[in-house]
Structures are given as structure tokens and as C-alpha cells.
């Protein structure tokens, strides 16, 4: 096999026409992993044996069934999961030493659904421990380097999920987004990714971080692929009480996108700003209308997030007592300890009203502003992060500076709306640039439509670093 195909369509066409077999695909991905993983630290576990077994059954299905690809939408799609998704019989660490030898008894719903749809699991991906971070530097198993330039971070917390795509080690990856953890690594790696509506995808079997904000979603290299995987993993499973089924196939003819003025002032990197202006110009050619809108309270988003999230973290990580499974609490890394303590602090007697209760109220205000703006526009355009990928070590000693990386991410999580991260070019330092489109709850279909519109207009081609 010469070149590994970069999209599901190319992969399945190749399999259908017998240009290559599923086993050969797995050979190629494994070769890529063997060549680069030691240096870039992207996979924590490679499931070589399982991948070959699944690839063989994929080959059989293709040979024996006429309409195998209609029956199995992800047939032959190599997938790697963030190591926070439980995988039956395969070690799952959450990037933390506490769970360094934990082997789950069952698989997460998203993992099972991808497998049932014909996917091939190739391994488990590095991430910030318990998904706490924006750079991958908080992983207890070491930092994931950015394949586009190894001096830079690959974004977090789903650091391996972004890097595995730019390093061409998997066709699709999964991630979790509590405040940008899917969108940021996609943005720093020139990938497309979806943070779905809160409650669109089951989180059963995903190690919890902050339960009122956690979402599960796919990363890939084109909008079509993200839509295909989203359609496979979404919907009720009876095991996550927050999940709703929702169908919306309404076709929109004309879109109106809001530009929140608060997102384009101070602190935003000039190259990103210029790039998004270009994106807007491109959309206008496609007859998409733009209006300036105001979300005045979103500036409090990060403060609200850094109260609600640590509060929920301190509760969710309470279960790691070293008695039933995992190591004891001394094995928590620094960031987990900081967040647990911050959570205990904002929930403790005398501070609950001033911090936690207050944050929940400001969350209401932000959510109401967002809902109000969506009565006027179909989507919002925003940067994913204030700068392109930053250098490893640059923010490592200053937790607050690291937290502010997620300043544009918080709005979507706090109000439970979907957001699609879309690549849109490269910076002068040859680092990926991109933007995000947010929409009302359960409007993913519109975001996909808009994402495709943009990529068609610029004649987008998926790219990998090597």
C-alpha cells in the first residue's frame, strides 16, 4: 500500500474495489505508529492483535455480503479512542497513574457502537490526566508532541486524538469535550471535530470529569466523516439519562451567522483574526449573511467554568479511593489535586453561596443570552482558541494562563450547544488555523451543512504532517 487514504469515502472505495484489504490498512497504520509513536507519545496502548482480528472479519464481510457498506456505515474505518473511554479487556488509564493498570469489564457505548458499525479499533490515545488540561502536558504518561512541529503542544485534553490524525495513525478518533477538549486538539492539528449538543451522545463508560458539561464526540479530517460517526454514536442507549433522541432533517436554504463582537477584541491573535475574516468573506460568496451580535456575559464564561467544573471534579474523583480499583489518592497528578481542592473550596461551608451558587446563576444568564441570540441567527462564528498551538512548557507553570486557553470554548459547554471545529489554513509558522461554528441545541445538521459549504468553496483537501 502506498498512501493511506485520508477519508472514510476514499477508504471504503479502496476496500470495495479491492485496491487494498482491511488487513493491509491495519499494516499501514501500525507501521506509521511504530515509526513515530516513541517520539511523539500519541498512543498509550496499541491493540495490534484485536485490530488484525477485526480487519479479518471486515475482509470477510466485504467478500460475503453485497451490501456490507450499507449495513455497516463504518466498515473498515480504523478508529482510536481517547484513553478515557472504557474498552473491555483493554487497559484504560484516563491518562492517570491512578488507573495505570485498570482493565475495564465493559466498553463505553460510543466504543461499542463504532465497533458494531464495522470500525476497527487500533488503540488508546494519550490525554491530559482525567481530561484536565489544554495542552496534553498534564498526562501522567508524558506530553504528546504536535506532529506539525514537535516543539509545540498538540492541544488538550484529547491530545492524542488530535495528534493521531495529523500523524496519520488512525482514520477517526474519539474525544471528550468539557471545555474545548475536542475542538482544541482538532484546531491544533488541522482536523474537523464536533462537540455535540449536551445529551446527544451517551457518556456511558466514559470516565467522568464534570458531569453537567461533559460531551463525547468524533475527530476526523472532513465534515462528512464527522457526520457519519456522529450518526453512529448519537441517541439513547438507556444508560445515560441525559440523552435525548432528536431528528432534524429540515433543509435550510439561506443561513445567517452571528459574529459575537466580544470574541474579536483584545487578546485574539492577529493571524487568527485575519483568517476568520477570510472565512467570512468566503461564506459571503456562498450567499451566507453575517450580522454582528452581542453576548456580553460570555466574558464571565471561564470564571463560571472554573467554579462549576472543579466542583463536579471534586465529587467525581471522590470515587478514586484506592479501595475498589486503582491506586490510592497520592497517585493523583498536580492538576487533579489543584482541581479537587478548588472544587472542595467553592463547595465548602461559607463559600458555597459566593462561588458555586453564584456561578450556577451566571450560567443561567449566559445560557439565556445564547438562546436569545439564536432567535436571530442560525449559527455563531468564533475562534477556537486565542492563539495557534503554543510551545510546550510555555504555560505549564501558570495554571491560570493555561485555563484562559479555553476562553472561547466555555460558551458551548455552559449552554449545552453543539460546536463544529473546522480547519481553515496555516499560520506564518506553519501551524494549523481554524474556527468554530456553534448552533442551537440539536442543530448539528446545520453545522455540517455550513462546514461543507466552506470546504467546498475553498476546495479543501485533508492534510497530514507525515
Amino acid at each position: 500500500m502506498n498512501n493511506i487514504p485520508l477519508t472514510i469515502k476514499e477508504t471504503q472505495e479502496g476496500l470495495k474495489s479491492k485496491k487494498f484489504s482491511a488487513v493491509e490498512l491495519v499494516d499501514s497504520y501500525l507501521a506509521q505508529i511504530k515509526k513515530y509513536n516513541d517520539e511523539y507519545n500519541i498512543f498509550l496502548t496499541v491493540t495490534e492483535e484485536e485490530a488484525y482480528e477485526q480487519a479479518k472479519s471486515v475482509n470477510q464481510l466485504i467478500n460475503n455480503s453485497e451490501n456490507a457498506f450499507e449495513q455497516y456505515p463504518l466498515l473498515g474505518v480504523t478508529t482510536a479512542h481517547k484513553d478515557i473511554f472504557l474498552t473491555k479487556g483493554v487497559r484504560t488509564t484516563a491518562g492517570s497513574k491512578i488507573l495505570e493498570s485498570y482493565i475495564p469489564q465493559y466498553s463505553a457505548t460510543a466504543v461499542r457502537r463504532i465497533e458494531r458499525a464495522g470500525g476497527i479499533m487500533i488503540g488508546k490515545l494519550n490525554c491530559d490526566a482525567f481530561a484536565h488540561g489544554s495542552s496534553g502536558e498534564n498526562s501522567d504518561f508524558g506530553t504528546t508532541l504536535n506532529p506539525w512541529n514537535k516543539k509545540y503542544t498538540s492541544g488538550g485534553s484529547s491530545s492524542g486524538s488530535g495528534a493521531a490524525l495529523s500523524a496519520n495513525m488512525s482514520l477517526i478518533t474519539t474525544g471528550t469535550d468539557t471545555c474545548g477538549s475536542i475542538r482544541l486538539p482538532a484546531n491544533y492539528g488541522y482536523s474537523v471535530a464536533l462537540k455535540p449538543t449536551y445529551g446527544a451522545v451517551s457518556r456511558y463508560g466514559v470516565i467522568a470529569m464534570a458531569s453537567s458539561l461533559d460531551t463525547v464526540g468524533p475527530l476526523g479530517r472532513c465534515v462528512d466523516d464527522i457526520e457519519t460517526v456522529f450518526n453512529v454514536i448519537k441517541g439513547k442507549d438507556g444508560l445515560d439519562g441525559n440523552v435525548k433522541n432528536y431528528e432534524n432533517n429540515s433543509q435550510k436554504i439561506k443561513f445567517k451567522i452571528g459574529i459575537p463582537k466580544e470574541f474579536f477584541v483584545g487578546g485574539l491573535d492577529k493571524e487568527i483574526e485575519k483568517n476568520i475574516q477570510e472565512v467570512i468573506k468566503t461564506y459571503k460568496k456562498e450567499d451566507v449573511e453575517f450580522v454582528e451580535v452581542s453576548l456580553p456575559s460570555t466574558k464571565y464564561g471561564i470564571s463560571v467554568y472554573y467554579i462549576i467544573q472543579p466542583a463536579e471534579v471534586s465529587s467525581n474523583l471522590g470515587r478514586f479511593d484506592g479501595i475498589r480499583y486503582g491506586n490510592d489518592r497520592n497517585s493523583f497528578g498536580e492538576e487533579a489535586k489543584r482541581r479537587i481542592m478548588l472544587g472542595s473550596y467553592v463547595l465548602s461551608a461559607g463559600y458555597y453561596d459566593a462561588y458555586y451558587e453564584k456561578a450556577m446563576k451566571v450560567r443561567t444568564i449566559i445560557k439565556n443570552e445564547v438562546d436569545e441570540v439564536f432567535t436571530k441567527v442560525d449559527a455563531l462564528i468564533a475562534p477556537v482558541a486565542p492563539t495557534p498551538a503554543f510551545k510546550i512548557g510555555e504555560k505549564a507553570s501558570d495554571p491560570l494562563a493555561m485555563y484562559l486557553t479555553d476562553i472561547y470554548a466555555a460558551t458551548a459547554n455552559l449552554s449545552g450547544i453543539p460546536s463544529l471545529a473546522i480547519p481553515s489554513g496555516f499560520s506564518s509558522k506553519k501551524l494549523p488555523l481554524g474556527f468554530q461554528l456553534m448552533g442551537p441545541r440539536f442543530s448539528e445538521h446545520n453545522l455540517f451543512e455550513l462546514g461543507r459549504k466552506y470546504h467546498q468553496e475553498i476546495d479543501y483537501k485533508p492534510k497530514v504532517a507525515f
Binding site: 445529551g199 467554579i307 465548602s348 459566593a354 450556577m360 441545541r441
Partner: protein, 91 residues
């Protein structure tokens, strides 16, 4: 807002069931203080008559119907149920 002291950090560490070394306490105190100072900016927002939001789905009390599995009945006409045995003869 008073500055966070090492004693406060020790207290929240205790509440969190975390055992910290003196070096950790010295490191975390200024870091947490800086974060708390930042999040305290919320006090400037007027939240009079605002209800708190704890989740965004609008769903309440998601329950599943209880199902009676007839297979588990020992004798349908007696209302007795069959359950796996937990006591065994020691031989």
C-alpha cells in the same frame, strides 16, 4: 477578598482526602489564590432573581418502566418468584 493562606489550603486538602507535602502546600497556595482571585470577578454580576442552572437538557426524572420478567416466576399462579440461590450445602 482575603488572601488564601497555607492553613486554608491544608483545610481544603483535608476536606478532599488529599495528603499534601509541605512543598506541595507552598506551591499550590499562590496558584490557588490567583485562580480564586480570578473567579471572584463573578461577584460583580447582578444575579438578583436569577435561578441557578445545574443542567441544560430540561429533562427531569428520567425513569424506566419497571418490567416484570415472567421467566423468573417459579409458579405464576402462586405469586412466588425464583431467584438465584445464595445458600449452598457444604459437602
Amino acid at each position: 477578598m482575603a488572601k488564601l493562606t497555607k492553613k486554608d489550603v491544608k483545610h481544603v486538602a483535608d476536606l478532599s482526602n488529599l495528603t499534601l507535602t509541605d512543598e506541595e502546600i507552598a506551591k499550590f497556595t499562590p496558584q490557588l489564590d490567583k485562580i480564586i482571585e480570578f473567579i471572584a470577578t463573578l461577584s460583580e454580576v447582578d444575579t438578583t432573581n436569577v435561578e441557578p442552572t445545574s443542567q441544560t437538557t430540561g429533562l427531569t426524572n428520567v425513569l424506566r418502566e419497571d418490567e416484570i420478567k415472567v421467566d423468573n416466576m417459579l409458579m405464576p399462579e402462586t405469586d412466588y418468584y425464583k431467584v438465584p440461590s445464595i445458600l449452598h450445602n457444604r459437602s
